[in-house]
């Protein structure tokens, strides 16, 4: 990214100085599309003088990017099998929006919506805590009062602008009917497609300026009130807002909406569906014949990996499932695997963990997210497992779509976490996640590359560069 490297820093500065009140959101500001955010929002903000040159540079950079991405895609295409077609669709979708964005950027007020969007998100997330807690706070122990918790919001309490699909989704999230990070992300994006679909720009407004603050933000606020957003949702929403801001005001609503929905479809295809296919394959490659694989609870990606290795690759291996006794999702995995003929041994809790880990050859973990310091955000208990594995020199693989990687850093499990709303009554308490330090992991398998956990932040940069 020779051209871009010289670019962003200059642009990034004005952006941060422009809206210092947003710092939390900025610090949290995640990966993907970030350089774009900077690019599009930062450029217009400063005085008019450098604007043109910047725009020209940008344009050139974009062209470079497009060319490179096209190349990268071509080289990737043969591998994933079924995926390529839709992916290339996504690819063509992107540049389209980007070129539109370039035009949109001309408008000095392109920034505010995105900026306020980010703020909205941040306050939204925080708001959900500060507005709702008064009641539950009494049951949340003081030492955990900084952590957030999902909450069943009565539908009547929701903002009138919240779309019915989002209302339903919010309830599903609050009740954990939709739980895993990547599933929540997908559902959110699909719901937003519907929101966009039913949107009409009011007279005297433009879509790019109106959609985000008046329509998307209430949805987002509602969703994060129902349950704190996961990293992937934050990442994707930031991306979506950027796409919205790039819509040319001259484009008719119908076309703009079509364009946005296509972008979302492409995003889902590329960052979720295609990513999962690649990760599943890569992770299955790590399994060898006669291996004993140890897993924790049930994670969709891990399950797909095991099934892929067994059914597609025809490998023979045993699986040890260690389960969280309070969730027992591992039993579902056990049934799925045994139905396919995989030999499974199941332990309902962490008893004799060392002994179990000793029996295993490798450990495959699903990640809810990855921090940029290489720590893994996973189901509570993941770190205990990884620790035991490390003690016995076993390989620990973490499976993670890049959309789950956040630029944040976490050094313990109480920096970012969620309290289980179902088990936070009186004196009982349950954390949903924990943070596994990077030294307990051997390899992070993502769709773009397998890497040392400490290199995920570098992967993130690569990803930004190539976008």
């Amino acid at each position: 990214m020779s051209t871009a490297t010289s670019d962003p820093p200059a642009e990034a500065k004005p952006q941060t100085s422009e809206k210092p009140e947003n710092t939390p959101a900025n610090i949290a500001a995640p990966p993907n599309g970030d350089s774009q955010t900077k690019g599009e929002n930062g450029a217009p903000a400063p005085a008019a003088a450098p604007k043109l040159t910047n725009a020209q540079l940008k344009a050139k950079a974009k062209a470079d990017k497009q060319a490179r991405r096209a190349q990268a895609k071509v080289s990737k295409d043969p591998a994933p099998g079924g995926a390529p077609a839709p992916v290339s669709a996504g690819q063509s979708g992107h540049p389209a929006t980007e070129s539109k964005g370039n035009k949109a950027k001309g408008k000095p007020d392109g920034a505010p919506p995105a900026g306020s969007g980010a703020t909205g998100r941040a306050t939204g997330a925080r708001g959900s805590v500060s507005i709702i807690p008064p009641k539950p706070e009494s049951s949340i122990p003081e030492c955990f009062s900084h952590l957030s918790m999902a909450k069943r919001l009565p539908i009547t309490q929701a903002d009138k602008d919240v779309h019915p699909t989002v209302l339903t989704l919010g309830q599903q999230m609050a009740t954990f009917a939709i739980d895993e990070s990547i599933t929540r992300l997908k559902a959110t994006l699909l719901a937003f497609k519907k929101v966009i679909d039913s949107y009409t720009t009011p007279p005297g407004n433009t879509l790019a300026r109106h959609l985000t603050p008046h329509v998307l933000n209430p949805q987002i606020e509602y969703l994060s009130a129902c349950r704190p957003m996961c990293f992937s949702m934050g990442n994707a929403i930031r991306w979506l807002k950027l796409q919205v801001s790039k819509i040319d005001p001259d484009v008719p609503d119908v076309d703009a909406k079509k364009q946005l929905c296509a972008s979302i479809d492409a995003f889902i295809q590329e960052r979720i569906n295609f990513a999962d296919v690649v990760i599943t394959q890569k992770a299955a490659d790590c399994i060898q014949n006669d291996d004993v694989i140890l897993v924790y609870g049930r994670n969709t990606l891990v399950q797909r990996t095991l099934l892929h290795a067994h059914l597609v690759d025809g490998k023979k291996f045993d699986v040890i499932i260690i389960d969280d006794p309070y969730e027992r999702q591992g039993q579902v995995l056990a049934k799925t695997l045994t139905a396919e003929g995989v030999k499974v041994s199941y332990s309902g809790d962490f008893g004799a963990l060392q002994y179990q880990v000793k029996l295993a050859d490798r450990i495959i973990l699903g990640a809810e997210g990855m921090f940029s310091n290489g720590a893994l955000y996973g189901r509570c208990g993941t770190s205990d497992l990884a620790l035991a594995a490390k003690d016995f020199g076993k390989q620990v693989y973490a499976l993670c779509e890049t959309i789950n990687i956040t630029e944040r850093v976490s050094t313990d499990s109480l920096t970012y976490n969620e309290i289980d709303p179902e088990r936070c009554s009186g004196s009982s308490f349950r954390l949903l996640y924990d943070t596994t330090p990077s030294h307990c992991l051997s390899t992070v398998v993502t769709e773009i590359s397998s890497a040392q956990p400490t290199s995920v932040s570098y992967l993130l940069r690569k990803l930004e560069d190539s976008n």
Binding site: D323, R328, A334, V344, F350, Y355, D384
Partner: protein, 445 residues
Amino acid sequence: MATQKGGYTPSLEKFLDSLKSRPVQASVELLISLLKRRQIKGSEACATATAHILLQVVARDKWTNVDQLLGRIQLVGRKLVTAQPHELATGNIVRRVLGLIRDEASEERNDATTDSPRPASPSPSPSASASVPAPSHASSPPKPARPPTLASIGSFARTQSMFNLLSDPNLFPPTGSNASTPGQVSGASTPILNPQATNVSALRSEVIDGIQEIMDEIKMVDEQVQTYADIFIHPGDYILVYQPSRTVQKFLTRAALKRKFTVFLAIDPSSATSSEALYASLLKSMASNGSSVITVLNAGLMAYMSRVDKVILGARAITAQGGVIVDSGGAAIARAARERRRTVIVLGGVYKLSPESKLLSESRVEWGDPSKYVSFADGSLVSHVRVKNAVSEFLPADQVDTYITNLGAHAQENLHTIIADHYKEEDINFDLYGKAQRISGGEIE
């Protein structure tokens, strides 16, 4: 095993009540089956039952000399131990009673023949230590009845066996050839047990007193351990406990009298719904003193460690090297604590300190009822999945910071001296875990 409020569990109580009305041999057989079927379980219950049954053997069996009595205790002891090898406390009590008999016998003999050529059986008698519950026991002076000869100094006794290498075969039976022989009854430091010199009835009552002291010691453990509570728990501490035994609960309760702190209570997941009732008295007394208890419904507790100051675990047994048998799940917690450099404290009476070294850490995992989390009704799971459920497991010594027993707080490095104070080498070497039928033929090799 988590709690037995007040007295004993019903099965233990029933067993103890029936002791007097039953012939000794029948009681032994009953206890064996109770142990096998896990109807008497937990180190305290097993230790208590063992002490009681051995008392019956001493009091009611026919024996005419010390060797006979030792042989009898060894026989019964081995049967009990093999019935439930996971309960190390059983073997501990057997070995302590054996040591007690040796001590009493040598005292008797010393009293009878004052000019015995060599002072024997020198280590401080367990009965002496049992009767002195204060933590200062180790330095308690020898009984005045015995002249304080050089040989009664502990370290001298400990090294005595070292020099057996050069000892005169006519004076000492060389440990070299028979110390590990299962059937051996008289060891190196109790030479020439002269049956004639032993007054059986006096010895009997001495030994019975001694066993009763051991029983008292077991009963007193909780009370003595908790005297150290406010030394180790500080104001504002966050203490993590896991399936707290009664000893641990009392420890916390005592600390709460003087300190305000927070307890993270990790419970047995299968009892999540009944935990309030299970720990009612703990919750109540903590709350009434202004300390709080947070019941933690997580299996992996690494997440909490950045907030936790100390982890307190109850021991099922402690080995000479400092390894601890804990409720399954305890090892993962201690490991997590170690990762964050949190203090791990293990509580348990001295009677849980086991000299046994012949068990591997793997075999120290005790597996239990697989239906704990998996319903038998769930056909596809039960028939196709190998379901495993550990009951207890081994916690390596390097993950424990300190041990608090009824004698005080100990560094790992000093556990072996406590063991040396409570057990005799020949009893430690005696293989309680051998096949029970092996000794039916008497002395082998």
